[in-house]
Each structure stands twice: as structure tokens, then as C-alpha cells.
Amino acid sequence: MKENKLVNFFIYLFLILFTIAALYPVINVFSISLRPGDKLLSTSLEIIPDNATLKSYIELFAEREFLLWVWNSTFISFIVTLTGVVLASTAGYALSRFNFIGKQISMMSIITTQMFPATMLLLPMYIMLIELGLSNSYFGIIIVYTSTALPFCVWQMKGYYDTIPFSLEEAARIDGCTRFQAFYKIILPLAAPALVITALFSFMTAWSEYIVAAQILQDTKLYTLPIGLKSFQSNLTTEWGLYAAASLIVSIPVVILFIILSKWLVSGLTLGSVKG
């Protein structure tokens, strides 16, 4: 018993330390966003400072193009997610269920693209988009995001389909479905956990990406949230209040998304280990 208590003590100590490490920056950013002026550093440990003000938040929405960036990011992320889910769910299905010439090669090349760091692909992609006249456009950035997110998603979907018995589709086809009906009426609903992960991954790829967006989008009207945030920093000063307020708002949709989808995430990640 005593030993158990001691072990528990250390487990909790460990967990508490890491929780603090994870939460401190968030709390700190929250605190900064409430401070008047652009004070980054403060000796006070108060979370809500004495002279707390929502000025930064008001300015963000009223005087800056913040809402436009929110819209840009939402729009781009939504299209990337939609394209990602549609393409990954169908491509993964083909790779899981059909035998065709070039199947092995295409699967290998899909995985190979994951071995290059994004920064390395930046230059060729940039040149390609310029040549196509797609730089500084929604369409260009959507293509880049979708193509970076897809390989992982396709493999992920294929892996999940592999765990669904063939006989379910066969039963559906005998019951009166065409191949495609069997896919979307039977297989797709069963693959919901994998679809959720695919959607989340695609969304995150687009929502929080900075490096590629910074190269491709020059027009402030097209800015996504990450570049918009960065624009509060200039060579001489940084508007820390705005920066902190915007950071918090940017992360809210992601947190909400994770909370809503967490049930699916857990079941998606553990699937395959327990079946029945």
C-alpha cells in the first residue's frame, strides 16, 4: 500500500509538471492579451492583470483585417479538407480493394513523397505555381496543401479499409447495390473513424501552416491566419497584445474540433487491435 502511494505520488507529480508546462504558455498568452499597451514581459504572476482590458480584442475585430483572415483560413481549410476526404477515401478504397497495373508503384511513390521535408519542396512548388500563374491565389495554396496532406490520408484510409471484411461489400452487391453504392452505403459509414482522422489532418495542414503560405500569398487580402499573425511583428516593434489575442482566437476552433472529434479519434486509433 505504502509503495503504491509513493508510486502514485510520483506519477501525479510527473503529470502535474507536464500539465503546467503545457498550460503555462497558453495562460501567459491569455494574460498578455489582456494587458494594456504592448507589454510582453511583466513581473506580475497574476493571470488577469489589474488593469485588464479587452482593447486588443476589440481592435483586432474592429480595426484590423483579422476577420478577413479568419474567413480566408476557414475557406481554404474547408476546401482542403473536403478535397482531402473525397480523394483519400476513394483512392484508399481503390488501393485496398482492386488489383491494377502500377498499384505497387503508385503506393510506393505516394509514401516516398512523405520522405521530403516541406521546406525542400518549397522552391520547386513555388516555381511550378508561378509557371502555372497560380501564385498569390487561393487555388494555388489549396493545391499545395491538398497534395501535402493527401499521401498520409490515402495510406491511412487504405489501411482502415483493409480491416473491413470484403464480404460486407459482396453481401451489399448481392443485395442489389452497384459497386459504388456498396462503397458509399456500407463501407464509407463504417470507415467514419478513419474519415474523421483524414478530415482533421487535412484541416490542420491548412489551418496552421505558415512557411508555404508566406511564400505563396503576398496580397494581404489573401492572408491566412498564421501569416496575418506574423504581420503584427515588424522590424522594430511587435504588437504583443494583438498578437496574443489573435493567437488565442486562432486556436479556439482547433480545440473545439478536437473535443468534438476525440471520441472518433480514440476509436480510430485503436481500431484493428480489437475487432468484433
Binding site: S167, L168, A172, R173, I174, D175, G176, C177, I186, G276
Partner: protein
């Protein structure tokens, strides 16, 4: 009328693997035909070709006199019950059974009526709201059968539907499917590797091995008149005993086993083919139940007597299986349970050679 006709059906898989070859079979309207054989014999592949889930490499398939080779499974008007039930996990029992009708755009009240009737036949009325994962194996099996019968298809296909059930339930479901066949008066094709299932359920049985049909016949004909050594060994449990030997001509026709332990005259047998097998290697086939323990001195012309040493004796309750070596071959006899021998005791056995079978040593066909 729903007759299924297979003409020279052949299936070749990638890499030139021949799975099924030269299958010719006509399943008559309302007939219950069982495809049976060891695993990998092509029985499931044949069934899946009838269903349209596998392409037919060569040959022709007719259902109701219509060529079906290139018809999609949904348009063949068949239903299939799978080994793993293949119930849709995200739908409850009602929706599972109704799915095929909904896809075919049946009116709602008709769907409800049909599902309720089928559920009643199968005794699953109280399960209609449940999801498949909340059902036992036997209940899932019933739902799978229910999903097939609501559609009232021309042909029912069963792919080893009982092999995932425990022994007791299997026997129960076996009789239920037989009853269902009588009630629905439907054409059914049933695949199993279990010869007991085949014998008890089939109007006719197709015995397959290595992609080839070895015999198509009624259960009793298969048992009493097997076409070859494989069919003889596959049908019947425990399986038939085979002893190597020769037919010789020595003051008339005689059979002599390779060591000479068995040596008896065959004159009384009316089998003319035996005289063509003189000096050729033959297998003598004796069913375990045709052996008996010699208890008295009654001498019959057709009885052959020999002595052997008991290896193992397995009491089954109503009968006893006795294992012994005859002419270097392990044999089993099925005798009355009153016999209880100790291992290594010497026993006199008898069998009636008119009940024995002879198989050609090379072709293994019955002589």
C-alpha cells in the same frame, strides 16, 4: 422455375492457378445441392461464380435458362449467406434485413411486412432493434438467413454458413435450414467442408477435390457406390479403410493383400470388372461399420476372418471405435459398445467382402 446450370465452368486465377475445372452441374428447380470437399477444392469459388462475385474464366452459367456470365450480382436474383454472416454492423437487424428491399425501392409497408414474416419464421421478432454486435452467433446466423429470404430470390447460396457456430447450434441450424428449404420450396446451393452436413441436408451432393468434380449423386448413392477412392474416403465417418493388394487368378478370382494376410475368393461376386484387374494393384475398401468382432463359429461363404492386435479403443458411448493394424495399414472398426478391449489384446475380426469396395491402384476409380 429456377434452374442453375453450369457448363464446363473453369476458373483460372492470376499466375495461372487453376481453381476450378470443367464443372458441369444442373441444379434443378427447388433442389438442394451441396458442394462438399476439403479446403481449397474450389467449392467456394464455384459458388462465388454462381453469385457473380468471381468472374468465370471459361464456360457458361445459366440461371433460369438465361446466360449469366456477364450479369452483375445484383441482377442475378440470388441471395447469399456468408460464413462470417457479413451483417452490416452500423444497421440494426431490421435494416439489415430490409436493406436489399430498400435498394430495390420496394414500398415501405411491403418491406415491413416481409421483414416481419421472415423474422417470425426464424424466431427473431424480438431482436429487430438490435445491432449485430449485440447478437450471439446463432442469432447473427438467423439474421443473415433472414436477409436472404425477405428478397424471395430465385436461388439461395450458402457459403459454409454454419462453420462459425458451436457443435450443438450447428446441428440445430442444420435442421432449420432443411426445414426452410421445404417451406420456401426454393433452389439452394450449399457449400460445406463437413460431410455430415452434406449427407444430412443435400438432395444431391457434389464432391470436389483440387478443382475437379469427382462425383455428383444422392447422399446414399455416394455412400454405397462411391465413384472413386477419394469419394469413398471423404464420405462416411470414420472414413473407409483401404488395404493394398492384388486380384489374382488362382482356381478362380482371388484377392490377396500385399502381405498375404488377407486372401479370399471372389467367385461369388458378380462384379465382372474385377476379372479385368487381374495382376493389377487394387485397393480393398472396407467401411469401419462393416468390420465385426468374431464371436461364434458361424461360417458364411462371404465372411473373411483375420486376427489383429488392438492399438487403441475409443468408447463413444453408443459404439466403440477400435484401431488396429491390418496388413501394415492403420484401420478402424466401428463396433458395438459392449466390446471393450485392452490395448495390445489379440482379436479376431470379420468382414463381409460383398460389402467391400475395390479401387483401381492407378486411376483410383471404383472397379
Amino acid at each position: 422455375m429456377a434452374e442453375v446450370k453450369l457448363e464446363n465452368i473453369k476458373k483460372v486465377y492470376e499466375g495461372n492457378v487453376i481453381a476450378v475445372q470443367d464443372v458441369n452441374l444442373t441444379v434443378e428447380d427447388r433442389e438442394f445441392v451441396v458442394l462438399v470437399g476439403p479446403s481449397g477444392c474450389g467449392k467456394s469459388t464455384t459458388l462465388r461464380m454462381i453469385a457473380g462475385l468471381e468472374e468465370i474464366t471459361e464456360g457458361k452459367l445459366y440461371i433460369d435458362n438465361k446466360l449469366m456470365n456477364d450479369v452483375a450480382p445484383k441482377d442475378r436474383d440470388i441471395a447469399m449467406v456468408f460464413q462470417n454472416y457479413a451483417l452490416y454492423p452500423h444497421m440494426n437487424v431490421f435494416d439489415n434485413m430490409a436493406f436489399g428491399l430498400k435498394i430495390r425501392k420496394f414500398p415501405k409497408n411491403e418491406i415491413k411486412k416481409r421483414v416481419e414474416v421472415a423474422a417470425k419464421i426464424l424466431g427473431i421478432e424480438n431482436l429487430l432493434d438490435r445491432k449485430p454486435k449485440a447478437l450471439s452467433g446463432g442469432q447473427r446466423q438467423r439474421v443473415a438467413v433472414g436477409r436472404a429470404i425477405v428478397r424471395k430470390p430465385k436461388v439461395f447460396l450458402f457459403d459454409e454458413p454454419l462453420s462459425n457456430l458451436d457443435a450443438k447450434l450447428r446441428v440445430q441450424m442444420r435442421t432449420e435450414i432443411s426445414k426452410l428449404h421445404e417451406k420456401l420450396e426454393a433452389t439452394m446451393v450449399y457449400v460445406t467442408h463437413d460431410q455430415t452436413e452434406a449427407m444430412t441436408m443435400g438432395d444431391r451432393i457434389v464432391v470436389m477435390k483440387d478443382g475437379i468434380v469427382h462425383q455428383i449423386d444422392t447422399p446414399l448413392n455416394l455412400y454405397y457406390h462411391p465413384a472413386n477412392k477419394f469419394v469413398a474416403s471423404f464420405i462416411g465417418s470414420p472414413s473407409m479403410n483401404f488395404i493394398d493388394g492384388k486380384i489374382i487368378s488362382e482356381n478362380g478370382l482371388k484377392y490377396r493383400s500385399s502381405s498375404g494376410l488377407l486372401n479370399f475368393k471372389l467367385d461369388t461376386l458378380a462384379n465382372k470388372n474385377l476379372s479385368n484387374a487381374i495382376n493389377k494393384k487394387v485397393y480393398l475398401g472396407i467401411r469401419p461399420e462393416d468390420f465385426r468382432i468374431k464371436t461364434d463359429e458361424t461360417i458364411s461363404d462371404t465372411m473373411v476372418t483375420f486376427e489383429s492386435i488392438i492399438g487403441v479403443s475409443e468408447p463413444m458411448g453408443n459404439e466403440t471405435y477400435i484401431y488396429f493394424i491390418l496388413d501394415g495399414v492403420q484401420c478402424v472398426a466401428r463396433v458395438d459398445s459392449m466390446f471393450n478391449f485392452k490395448t495390445a489384446s489379440q482379436v479376431s475380426f470379420q468382414f463381409d467382402f460383398t460389402k467391400a469396395h475395390f479401387f483401381d491402384g492407378e486411376s483410383e476409380n471404383r472397379i
